[in-house]
């Protein structure tokens, strides 16, 4: 990462934990995980609470749907690390990689339900233009999406508009297929807390 302290500035216990994770998963710990362990009281701990609620808390959206939203928002931000991580996690959650790839290549023709498509369209506009208006919301509501589902989707959008920025600003290392698969397995077993 671009700041040396994000590569090395961890206490002994955290370094032992990183080594243990490396041993068990046979992959180096991803930079996204390193970042939340860096001075966790400042950012990592409160952000993990938020992200876990958004991604794994109670919601009418499935875990696969929310991981797909994360991948889609990251695609809009052209954030290579998060596209890879959440494409792998959504594909594993759905057990359907083709569906995830279809959404990322063309939302309008992808084989998904209309409420999810309308919601992704909203998140795409919010991420790209930094704003949405009341008509955009009405369009999603009239596609059959509930107010709670929109709020849930907006929280996923917040988490990944934050994380994508940090990934690119700090220069997260982008692992290969094996690394993303190991990360996806971890995120489906343990979530974000």
């Amino acid at each position: 990462m671009r700041l040396k302290t994000l590569n090395n500035g961890y206490d002994f216990g955290t370094k032992v934990l990183f080594a243990f994770i490396h041993l068990v998963s046979r992959q180096p710990i991803p930079d996204a995980a390193r970042l939340v362990f860096y001075r966790p009281d400042f950012y990592g701990t409160p952000m993990k609470v938020f992200t876990h609620l958004a991604m794994r808390g109670p919601s009418a959206w499935s875990i696969g749907d929310r991981e797909l939203m994360a991948a889609f928002v990251s695609k809009m931000n052209a954030c290579a690390f998060c596209i890879g991580a959440h494409t792998a996690t959504a594909a594993m959650a759905y057990q359907d990689e083709a569906k995830v790839q279809a959404v990322l290549s063309d939302l309008e023709t992808a084989p998904i339900e209309e409420p999810l498509r309308a919601t992704l369209r909203l998140l795409g506009k919010l991420t790209h233009e930094h704003a949405v208006n009341v008509d955009d919301m009405r369009a999603v509501l009239s596609a059959g999406v509930s107010r709670e589902q929109i709020e849930d989707a907006l929280s996923v959008c917040f988490a990944f508009n934050t994380t994508d920025r940090l990934a690119d600003a700090f220069g997260f290392f982008v692992p290969g297929h094996k690394g993303f698969e190991a990360g996806a397995k971890f995120l489906l077993q343990r979530g974000y807390q």
Binding site: F42, V132, M137, S155, D168
Partner: protein, 116 residues
């Protein structure tokens, strides 16, 4: 009354922590990074990229801020504040639009139940 969503409470906790809690960067600087406003160069360039074009951040942007006297820990905090600030503006704008749409929906439902 709207029941406060747990995620909104957790969001507020993130924002309050980075802006008002203890840190190595001054609170005013963290606030300025969060708002992407009122910063001098070279910090302004870095923070504006984090907020608006994060894929354009370069090693040189970070090196310039380090050379201007900020520490790595200060940069860590200011970049985090900039990212959370930009994402928060989106989140709050969208929640506001949703609120407006819900008010409009209630009004039209009320009107159709009570035709004049």
């Amino acid at each position: 009354m709207v029941i406060e969503d747990k995620k909104r409470t957790a969001h507020r906790a993130v924002v309050i922590r980075v802006l008002e809690g203890d840190g190595r960067a001054a609170r005013a600087a963290r606030r300025a990074a969060f708002e992407n406003a009122g910063l001098g160069e070279p910090l302004r360039t870095l923070i504006d990229k984090v907020a608006r074009q994060p894929t354009r951040v370069t090693d040189e942007d970070i090196a310039a801020v380090l050379a201007s006297g900020e520490s790595e820990d200060q940069i860590f905090e200011l970049v985090v504040c900039a990212a959370i600030g930009a994402a928060t503006r989106q989140y709050e704008t969208a929640l506001h639009a949703l609120e407006e749409a819900m008010i409009g929906k209630k009004r039209s439902e009320h009107a159709s139940e009570n035709p004049q």
